[in-house]
């Protein structure tokens, strides 16, 4: 008699179909194992927004009563496995449904396994993952994060490979045979077996990982709210120490975009013509205007959409870089003003070491091309 649960943390919309396929795959496989399961999304993540972290769950039980007992809780915690479908989520999860940053391993039970889709080695991922008070395991399924959109799905076998790896790290949740039985396609069955064979979990000790305390915010309950549910508007502008002149708009104190980003812009201030287009076209008001009229992307507000890169008229002045290349959110303009030479070195390093990342639909046939390219 037992119940087990799997949590899939993914990028909203971009990986919605992927997460659904994984959770459904678990439930179908459980049925083949003679057990009973259910898959569902986190209610408060809906409607999903592009890139904003969201969650889906699969719960498997021996009997209907056990399943119902488990479902009476709001959100499954003590998960046997947390699947992280995009490795930049290892920095933490700030969903649009709650406030503050949740470590990726927070809802994992002791000795559970965090399963990440990534090309990175385990220690590089552990650098980003917050420390946990109990030991757990980390396993990776080799691959770049699989991103597509709401209508056109990139069928690159990431979903079935995650299921294969799941059968290896948590055979008590679903068996390999059941997963293979549930998948008709022989190519996909081969992908399941390969992922099963290749996944190697490593133990993560309590003193390993990012020791930062995840940020959180105090919010009023309904008894302490103002009359008529008035929410105070933001102040027009915040004082930012050390900056004379320029303009820094107010920043929402209770919602940051650190965990929404999969990429971030890096700016070559030497070639910048101060044309203002990146600043004006940014949907997130993320650019601070510096005293010398440059535009500095504020990482507190940047959601990594890449519009600034697309509208910038200067070749390679703004470049979007995979978020995994960064460990802080410091101001690039400040770095550049202090030491232009080392900034230029830092910049070319970041640009040359850029890990691949696909960001959604461009044209018909693109996903097939990407899959062909990735498999060579």
């Amino acid at each position: 008699m037992s119940t087990s649960s799997v949590e899939v943390v993914y990028r909203g919309i971009f990986q919605k179909t992927l997460a659904k396929n994984v959770c459904r795959g678990i439930v179908f496989a459980a049925k083949k194992d003679g057990r009973i399961g259910i898959a569902f999304g986190r209610y408060s993540d809906s409607p999903e927004r592009n890139g904003i972290p969201a969650k889906q769950f699969a719960v498997v039980a021996d009997t209907e009563e056990e399943l119902e007992e488990h479902l009476s809780r709001y959100e499954p915690d003590n998960n046997d496995v947390t699947i992280c479908a995009d490795d930049t989520l290892c920095k933490g999860v700030e969903s649009w449904a709650w406030y503050g940053l949740q470590p990726i391993n927070k809802l994992l039970k002791p000795d559970g396994t965090l399963l990440v889709t990534s090309m990175r080695p385990a220690d590089s991922l552990i650098r980003d993952i917050h420390r946990k008070a109990v030991p757990y395991n980390l396993a990776t399924v080799k691959g770049t994060a699989s991103f597509s959109g709401l209508w056109v799905y990139k069928d690159d076998h990431t979903d079935v490979r995650l299921l294969g790896a799941l059968a290896k790290v948590a055979p008590h949740v679903v068996s390999l045979d059941a997963i293979i039985e549930g998948i008709g396609d022989s190519m996909k069955q081969a992908s399941v077996r390969k992922a099963y064979d290749m996944v190697e979990p490593v133990p993560v000790a309590v003193d390993q990982g990012n020791d930062e305390v995840p940020y959180e915010f105090d919010l009023p309950g309904y008894t302490t709210m103002e009359e008529c549910l008035v929410i105070r508007g933001m102040d027009k502008q915040q004082d930012v120490p050390g900056r004379d002149g320029g303009y820094v708009p107010a920043r929402n104190p209770t919602f940051k975009k650190y965990a929404t980003r999969t990429m971030r812009p890096v700016i070559n201030f030497e070639t910048c013509t101060k044309c203002t287009i990146c600043w004006l076209q940014c949907p997130d008001t993320c650019f601070d205007v510096t005293p010398d009229d440059y535009y500095d992307a504020n990482m507190e507000a940047c959601c990594g959409c890449g519009v600034c890169e697309a509208v910038c008229p200067v070749d390679q002045c703004i470049t979007m870089i995979n978020e995994e290349a960064f460990t802080d959110n410091a101001s690039q303009w400040e770095m550049w003003s202090k030491d232009k030479e080392s900034y230029s070195k830092w910049l070319s390093e970041k640009i040359s070491e850029q890990p691949a990342r696909s960001h959604g639909f461009h044209h018909i046939g693109q996903y097939a091309e990407e899959i062909a390219h990735e498999s060579t």
Binding site: P47, I52, I231, C305, H362
Partner: protein, 338 residues
């Protein structure tokens, strides 16, 4: 007892005089809709909100009908708005704007508030505005004694509830309500409503109606400033590329906005005091100084049209050609002469 001359005092119609900003470098830095909202990556509608209120300035009240720009921007105890903002029901942006403008007039008439021109802007999505709220907007545009602006941000679906068809969804687009199948490829066969021109033609007393695209940010700002300066009830319709519902890489929001204009799908025009003026690239298209780009350049970059065949593209192109070549007023009024 104090005598109140209703006729003399009720028509307080002075507006803020907002001169156009000539060029991108003249755009003010001040932000009244700032960071920390929960929209999608590359959300053009969030940019439109930002430009709209940047243009209007601090002495403005904004009312928002249900939709993405309500839900994503004002989640529990958190907001990017700097100016006063209030939520109103899906179909009631017109009524809320009229009510707010009337209340301000009454408060000023009764001396409970200092006399001052305050901008009233009510925004709505395509579902709230062009489907449910059309009658209320129509009523608001008849109330010429009030200064108000109805701003319709159109992402061509009910995007907040995960992409259902609205009256402004384009022909053939994939959506939760119109998934293409093997037997029936095109599940949404209605043609998009011609909302701005319909409202301009149907409300001759309305002094200002415009269409905008945030791909052209400075023009968008200046149309809002013009509408608020002219006063009376006014209407602006913005086409906002939506990375979630249209299914494209979020970085191309700006490009797709521009392509919609360049292909002739989205004509840019303003109707001021009954006078029609095309502007931006649409002006050149109307005067046949530039060729329209083929609509396939715009459609095939979006996952919602990924099921289109040549036949569908030809049909779409034919409808757009008709709009520019056969219509009484090309791109605006669809009748043909005898």
């Amino acid at each position: 007892m104090q005598q109140i001359n209703i006729h003399a005092l009720s028509d307080y119609l002075e507006t803020q005089v907002l001169e156009p900003w000539k060029g991108i470098k003249k755009v003010a830095h001040d932000e009244y809709f700032t960071s920390g909202h929960r929209t999608c990556q590359g959300c053009e509608s969030a940019l439109v909100m930002r430009l709209m209120i940047k243009a209007a300035g601090p002495r403005t009240i904004v009312l928002g009908a249900t939709g993405c720009m309500y839900v994503a921007n004002t989640t529990y105890y958190s907001t990017p708005w700097v100016v006063p903002w209030m939520h109103t029901q899906l179909g009631s942006s017109g009524s809320a704007a009229t009510g707010t403008a009337a209340a301000l007039t009454a408060l000023m008439r009764k001396g409970k508030m200092e006399k001052e021109p305050i901008n009233v802007i009510a925004f709505c999505g395509d579902g709230g505005g062009a489907d449910m709220g059309l009658s209320a907007i129509s009523a608001a545009l008849q109330h010429t004694q009030y200064n108000l602006l109805i701003f319709l941000y159109d992402n061509e679906s009910y995007a907040n509830t995960d992409i259902q068809v609205s009256g402004l969804s384009p022909y053939g687009a994939n959506s939760t309500f119109s998934p293409p199948g093997k037997v029936h490829r095109i599940m949404h066969k209605r043609w998009k409503k011609n909302t701005a021109a319909m409202l301009a033609a149907g409300h001759p007393d309305c002094k200002y109606v415009a269409t905008v695209s945030a791909g052209n940010a400075v023009d968008t700002i200046n149309k809002v400033r013009r509408a608020l300066t002219i006063g009376g009830p006014t209407f602006i319709h913005s086409l906002d590329p939506c990375p979630k519902g249209w299914d494209y890489d979020p970085k191309y929001s700006h490009d797709l906005g521009e392509l919609a204009v360049e292909t002739g799908i989205w004509p840019l025009y303003e109707v001021e005091e009954g006078k029609l003026k095309m502007y931006g690239k649409s002006k050149h298209i109307a005067k046949r100084r530039v060729e329209r780009k083929p609509v396939s350049e715009y459609l095939l970059r979006q996952g919602r049209f990924a099921h289109f065949t040549k036949e569908d593209l030809d049909y779409f192109q034919g409808k757009i050609d008709e709009m520019w070549e056969k219509w009484l007023l090309p791109g605006v009024i669809p009748f043909t002469g005898e």
